[in-house]
């Protein structure tokens, strides 16, 4: 273990270590010196554009994209204009800023996504320099043009170009500049040589770093820290000034004793940094300058590129990639030679324990005496998190686990989580994946984003594995990955529709939260409608299929899917869509094959578009419904002529529908209407619109018996009904003589009991009695009872020798009718004997 400290370099009271993470698997040589090389932070991909300035069409520059470990992801010849700058967005997209101010966006696999422009005027003046920067608002682009003007876009996702004010006295490009994001504002700090200016939205202010020695000279290089909180300034006299980027405070000023402009200058610090530093790179020298004034110098053999990270600097050369970072305090405590920190003792104790030496106990006891065992475990776990070397990780975790055994109430969460996270980190650090993330970066990046990045890189199995391992809920985890996978899968041109659909179905199955219609939409976007339809078949919720099908102009299919979904609103949406899209005939034909949609549309038409309804029936040759339609319409029509003509249409349609009955009835109605009209005109009877029965009733009540009689004959009204009607009307008008005449006109088809009853209803006992004698034998008892003639009823009942009827009469007798009761009882007894 002692060799761990071998690569530690003291800087002030802290240490810096430099460790190799990858042997780069690429084979590039000059590109690092001549080309444009940009690596994304957080172990992101590297883009290399060889000789960007070469303009001859015969040899186009080549754009290569590599993983951080140098594995080629894609490579293609650059066919567009000259590129000034490359940069990576937060979602792993490559920005290529061209000389004419247009910015092209490519994905990791070299496929063009979209482009935008940095302004019309740039086309003329050309971009001199560009910088891609990251802020809490997203990825931004800043350019300086040939007319010495700066233009900013803070977030390329919501493109808003800001042209910054002019800088007094600036010709061409400034000697150096940086973008700063402060106080929710994006500013540019630039040096014209002797002077420094801050450019914000509205103003250009001359500034001076506080405490910068007057003899320092002009500023030729500047760098801001990742958080934009700190700034370092390098002058032509070789002095390095560091301070806060708001230029309020000075941290240090160091003389590097080199006057050449460094090729790169990058901040190297970490959260809770003890000794932040600035790393400067010249052709043959790498210098780490601490704020205490100390420096570490490394000779450089190969051309290399520095990538500033949250907690470190990556040094990428053509052969390997190294990490340069301040040794975290906890690692110092544990690994510093002769350290007595609890973590160091615990590690030692465990080592002794493995050797089965009793010294383990001594060490342990020592930690316990200081009551520091919990702290020791925590230190080991934390230090393991910072380690890249898996063996060191293991020995630290084992020591922690060993220490944990002697603690009773120690929460295992920290230990368990770190174990899990280390496994994930080790997996993504693997050169095949190539994401050299530190634990600190991982925490900052969050797991969600890490999974997204794996998905962008199409490491689907690994992403799924991680989701499952960390037990992320399906909606955010596996399903999300599968969705991306499927969307990517449908773009594979070399596979048949059938094969892709099958593959997608097998993998995705019915994972929650994966929408087949989304995948299908993607397929349709890629120009594979057949595949889209196949995929839609897997969609369980038929409602989801409809919008896409409509977009794909598969209206018929959309309609049947909508019907299947049982959601009438959806059906209706499709119907409306079809109505606008198709000609009427086709539209009706389509509806005919979908009864559900048809009835829905019919009901709508009944309320909104009556004429369409008629057309619908016409198209179907549905004469019955058409006739019904005319009948309905006739009731809406107030004028008699209109009404008659509508009814005539109804008659015609009924005839066509072979519904002779309805035709006849409708004809009768027309006859009746004409009759009513005639009488209304003649007598002002107000009959219009009444039913036959009501008409007759009205006529009878008006005393127009002859006319009523005529209707009765013309319309062949059954005798019974007519008799009932006339009977009631006469009684109502109390025309008793007329009633009597009527009763004698012929034998009543309804018998004479009703006569008795209507009279009694008008409380006319006298009239009622007249008819009692005429009542049939069977009803005589009832008739007598109706008029309240108990004796008559008793007589009739006894005459008929009907026991039940006698019973009824008896039940109506009151106590005073002694004689009658006796008589009835005797008669009953007599019947009973027989």
């Amino acid at each position: 273990m002692s060799f761990i400290t071998a690569c530690w370099n003291p800087l002030g009271d802290a240490f810096y270590w430099r460790t190799e993470v990858y042997d780069m698997s690429w084979s590039i040589r000059d590109a690092l010196r001549d080309g444009l090389v940009v690596a994304a932070p957080y172990g992101g991909p590297i883009a290399v554009l060889s000789s960007p300035q070469r303009r001859s069409p015969s040899s186009r520059p080549q754009l290569d994209i590599y993983s951080a470990s140098g594995v080629s992801i894609s490579s293609f010849p650059w066919k567009s204009g000259p590129v000034v700058q490359l940069g990576w967005t937060v979602s792993d997209e490559l920005l290529c800023v061209q000389e004419d101010g247009s910015v092209l966006i490519y994905d990791l696999f070299g496929s063009f996504k979209r482009h935008f422009s940095m302004g019309q005027e740039v086309v003329q003046s050309q971009v001199l320099e560009a910088k891609v920067f990251h802020s809490p608002y997203g990825t931004g682009v800043a350019i300086v043009t040939g007319s010495s003007r700066f233009t900013l876009a803070t977030n390329i996702e919501e493109l808003k170009l800001r042209r910054l004010p002019e800088v007094p006295g600036l010709q061409g490009k400034p000697s150096c500049w940086v973008v700063l994001s402060q106080d929710r504002q994006t500013k540019v700090l630039l040096s014209t040589g002797p002077e420094l200016f801050i450019l914000d939205n509205t103003s250009c202010t001359a500034v001076c770093p506080p405490g910068l020695s007057p003899q320092a000279g002009s500023v030729i290089h500047m760098a801001a820290s990742i958080s934009y909180k700190y700034l370092s300034v390098f002058t032509d006299s070789g002095r390095l000034w560091t301070g806060t980027s708001n230029l309020q405070e000075k941290l240090s000023e160091v003389d590097t004793k080199r006057t050449a402009t460094p090729t790169q200058m990058v901040w190297c610090r970490r959260p809770q940094s003890q000794q932040p530093s600035v790393v400067l790179l010249w052709d043959r020298l790498l210098m780490v300058v601490g704020s205490c004034g100390d420096t570490i110098q490394f000779p450089v053999e190969n051309p290399c590129v520095l990538v500033g990270e949250l907690d470190s600097v990556r040094i990428i050369s053509s052969t390997n990639q190294e990490f340069l970072q301040e040794v975290p305090l906890v690692c110092q405590d544990i690994f510093k030679i002769a350290s007595m920190a609890p973590g160091a003792l615990l590690l030692e104790a465990h080592r002794e324990y493995e050797k089965s030496s009793q010294k383990a106990d001594e060490y342990l006891r020592e930690i316990k005496e200081q009551k520091m065992l919990g702290e020791a475990v925590r230190q080991c776990v934390e230090a393991a998190g910072h380690e890249f070397d898996t063996d060191t990780q293991k020995s630290l975790m084992r020591a922690a686990s060993f220490g944990k055994c002697f603690l009773t109430d120690f929460s295992p969460d920290h230990f368990v989580n770190t174990c899990r996270e280390l496994r994930v980190l080790n997996a993504v650090r693997d050169p095949a994946v190539g994401m050299p993330l530190t634990h600190t970066q991982f925490k900052q990046l969050t797991l969600q984003v890490l999974i997204d990045r794996l998905v962008y890189r199409r490491f689907y199995p690994l992403a799924i594995e991680i989701c499952r391992y960390l037990k992320i809920p399906d909606y955010q985890g596996v399903s999300r990955v599968l969705k991306h996978w499927a969307s990517c899968k449908v773009q594979q041109k070399d596979l048949s529709d059938e094969a892709i659909a099958q593959a997608v179905c097998v993998k995705v199955g019915d994972s929650p939260g994966v929408s087949y219609s989304d995948i299908a939409a993607k397929a349709y976007e890629c120009g594979r409608p057949e595949l889209a339809i196949k995929l839609l078949d897997f969609e369980a919720r038929s409602g989801e299929q409809v919008p896409l099908l409509l977009k794909m102009k598969r209206s018929q299919l959309a309609l049947s899917k909508a019907v299947e979904s049982g959601d009438t609103d959806l059906v209706y949406t499709v119907v409306t869509h079809l109505k606008n899209e198709m000609n009427r005939g086709d539209f009706f034909m389509t509806l005919r094959n979908q009864p559900v949609a048809l009835s829905l549309y019919r009901q709508f038409c009944k309320l909104q578009e009556l004429d369409t309804l008629k057309d619908l029936y016409n198209q179907d040759d549905d004469h019955q419904e058409l006739a019904n339609y005319y009948i309905t319409a006739s009731y809406r029509e107030k004028r008699l002529e209109g009404r008659l003509s509508l009814l005539q249409s109804a008659v015609d349609e009924y005839n066509k529908a072979k519904n002779e009955f309805a035709a006849k009835v409708t004809e009768d109605e027309m006859k009746l209407l004409r009759f009513q009209r005639k009488l209304d005109d003649e007598k002002g009877a107000g009959l219009q619109g009444l039913s036959l029965q009501a008409t007759m009733e009205a006529l009878l009540l008006l005393g127009l018996h002859k006319q009523a009689e005529q209707l009765y004959k013309d319309f062949r009204v059954p005798d019974k009904r007519y008799w009932w009607l006339k009977l009631r009307c006469l009684a109502e008008k109390e025309e008793w003589d007329e009633l009597e005449k009527f009763s004698r006109s012929k034998k009543s088809p309804i018998g004479y009991l009703p006569f008795v009853e209507v009279c009694m209803k008008s409380n006319n006992k006298f009239e009622a009695r007249k008819y009692v004698s005429k009542v049939m034998l069977e009803q005589k008892v009832k008739a007598h009872l109706t008029v309240g003639d108990l004796e008559g009823a008793a007589d009739a009942a006894i005459e008929r020798r009907n026991d039940a009827e006698m019973g009824v009469v008896l039940s109506r007798c009151s106590a005073s009718d002694r004689l009658l009761i006796d008589r009835l009882n005797r008669a009953r007894a007599a019947i009973a004997k027989k």
Binding site: R541, T568, V596, L598, Q624, N628, I631, L692, K720, R721
Partner: protein, 614 residues
């Protein structure tokens, strides 16, 4: 009628009301400031059960109006409309808004659709050019508890829309209602059902569950039975003779509330009375056959008198206790008792006459299939005497459905009589009834074969629409007689039936008929599915299902919840059916909860099918 001691507890449906009220208040608060509220006429009573006027006023509702499809007089600059998703109403709102526009008046409009909005309504708004001027919202007020065991969706139009117009727009609403019940009182253990619409509603509900996570809960409702109204038209077409049903037939119970006229209250005022289990008198007689009710009430009156009489011979202290504790209850009971006695008298006046007896006799003959000719002449006379438009129609339907159609001669003559009496526009009514298979002409053997050959031809013609029409008219064949035999719906008439001590559900129809719908439910629950009922379901045109739910684990042990059964009638149910189910529950130790799209009876059923209305 005593409860079985082991019968389970009913879940508390107060929650549904509170939920609906909170949602409404939330929606009202979305339109801050004073506003006038326009309420659709048939939403007035349901709304009253959820939130009273003072609650509305608390949330800055200024004036309340009924939607009357007339120009409005409101002066408020904010108008809120609480309506059913009906095109006519939306059109009216458009007219209101456009009139304001023309008058240069600026107002804010908000439409709250309940229980949901339909695309068609929004299309109308768009078409009328006021889509941008109104905000729309949905008040998911699906379920109104009318009583401890009755929940209504208060959607009477469901029946006509779904069964006549073939518009399935309410199916999803029913699915959502079921979903709500499931999420509050489920998970359901088993779902049975019969009917096309039931099946669709069930599927709609399943889809809604799939979209969300399931939390394990303790179920309060175990099983569910869904049934389409068109499975059994016979039962709602019969006259009701159980007290609650009879009150509904005579006075029309609206949203659990009935208005008794002066003839009942024996004063000059009408009185609105809530009819539910809170009414101690009503709750004891609601399920009784009417012939028992009067006796029961007089017994009750005597008891009440005895209770009052206790006063005599009390000392001051006892009297004080009596006044403070008992008197109020007694007075209350007294009031209710006199109301129900009044109602009874009124019913007796209307119903105990010879006519009603003959009507019942005719119905019973039809159900038994005896003396059909006499029944037909009775109906002829019924029309001749112009007794009642709706009643005649109902009898015709009952005849057709029990006899599997009318003979062509009778069909024509009865129809002519009817049309002459009540107007030719009833051609449309008959057309509707024919479409539903409620009133049809008997198909002779010959016409059937003609039909079949026609169908054969149609297949070649590929006119699918007509084909389905042809098949559906074949399928609409009523098989009442066969079903009645299979399920033993009509008890043997030679035995005396003591209505005081009912022995089966037939008591609700004076012992003449066991309601088909309830018998089906009984059979399916008994068999735990449709096995053994294959023939029956075939006669009912299929669409039966029985699905076990997610919590299959405890289906073996009969928990309390599993004896709580939710029966959902799609297209309405009658009070008689509810009474029958209550009886069944008492017999078998179940508790039934009836959920229905609306309470119906024969008149409402017929009125819904009248022609010449949209």
């Amino acid at each position: 009628m005593a409860q079985r001691r082991d019968s389970p507890e009913l879940p508390d449906f107060f929650l549904l009301k509170r939920l609906a009220r909170d949602q409404l208040i939330y929606l009202l608060e979305q339109l801050p400031g004073k506003k006038d509220l326009f309420i659709e006429a048939d939403l007035m009573s349901p709304l009253d059960r959820i939130a009273n006027v003072s609650t509305l006023k608390e949330h800055e509702v200024d004036k309340l109006y009924k939607v009357e499809h007339k120009p409005i007089v409101s002066t408020s600059d904010q108008l809120c409309f609480l309506i059913r998703p009906r095109i006519q109403t939306v059109k009216w709102i458009c007219d209101v808004a456009n009139a304001d526009k023309a008058a240069g008046k600026f107002r804010r409009y908000k439409i709250i659709f309940t229980p949901q909005k339909f695309y068609a309504c929004e299309a109308v708004l768009e078409e009328q050019g006021i889509y941008g001027d109104v905000t729309t919202d949905e008040w998911p007020f699906y379920l109104l508890p009318l009583d401890d065991d009755i929940i209504s969706l208060e959607l009477p139009e469901f029946f006509r829309d779904n069964f006549l117009a073939g518009n399935q727009r309410w199916v999803r609403t029913v699915g959502s209602a079921l979903h709500l019940l499931h999420s509050l009182y489920g998970p359901f253990c088993k779902v049975y059902g019969i009917g096309r619409c039931s099946k669709m509603a069930y599927e709609s509900w399943r889809n809604q569950i799939e979209e969300e996570e399931q939390k394990p809960r303790k179920a309060e409702i175990g099983n569910v039975f869904l049934i389409d109204r068109d499975v059994d038209y016979v039962t709602p077409l019969c006259s009701q003779v159980v007290y609650e049903g009879l009150v509904d037939d005579v006075f029309r119970i609206k949203c659990g509330c009935v208005e008794f006229g002066p003839d009942v209250t024996s004063s000059d005022k009408s009185l609105k009375v809530m009819l539910n289990s809170q009414d101690k008198v009503f709750s004891e007689i609601r399920n009784e056959h009417f012939s028992n009710v009067f006796g029961f009430l007089s017994q009750k009156a005597r008891n009440l008198q005895i209770a009052y009489d206790k006063r005599r011979g009390m000392d001051i202290k006892q009297m004080k206790a009596f006044v403070s504790e008992e008197l109020k209850g007694l007075k209350q009971e007294h009031r209710l008792l006199s109301l129900h006695i009044g109602a009874c008298e009124s019913i007796m006046k209307k119903k105990t006459k010879q006519d009603f007896q003959e009507l019942l006799k005719t119905e019973h003959s039809l159900l038994e299939g005896f003396e059909i000719r006499e029944c037909i002449s009775y109906m002829e006379e019924h029309i001749s005497r112009q007794v009642s438009m709706i009643e005649s129609l109902r009898l015709l339907c009952l005849l057709s459905i029990t006899e599997n159609g009318l003979l062509p001669k009778d069909y024509r003559s009865l129809k002519t009589q009817y049309l002459q009496s009540y107007g030719v526009d009833h051609l449309l009514t008959f057309s509707n009834l024919r479409q539903l298979g409620l009133l049809v002409e008997q198909q002779t053997g010959e016409t059937l074969t003609v039909m079949e050959s026609k169908v054969g031809k149609l297949v070649n013609d590929r006119t699918a629409g007509k084909l389905t029409d042809a098949f559906s008219s074949l399928a609409k064949k009523s098989n009442f007689r066969a079903l009645s035999r299979k399920l033993n719906l009509v008890p043997k008439s030679d035995e005396e039936y003591d209505l005081r001590v009912p022995r089966d559900m037939a008591y609700i129809f004076s012992g003449a008929y066991i309601p088909l719908s309830c018998k089906l439910i009984e059979q399916v629950l008994e068999r735990d599915g449709w096995t053994g009922l294959e023939e029956v379901s075939r006669l009912l045109n299929g669409h039966e299902f029985a699905v076990s739910g997610s919590n299959r684990a405890d289906s073996r042990t009969k928990t309390d919840a599993q004896r709580v059964i939710l029966v959902m009638f799609l297209g309405g149910c009658t009070f008689s059916e509810i009474s029958a189910l209550r009886f069944l529950g008492r017999e078998k130790g179940y508790k039934f909860i009836v959920v229905t799209t609306a309470i119906t009876n024969s008149s409402r059923l017929m009125e819904a099918l009248l022609g010449n209305q949209v």
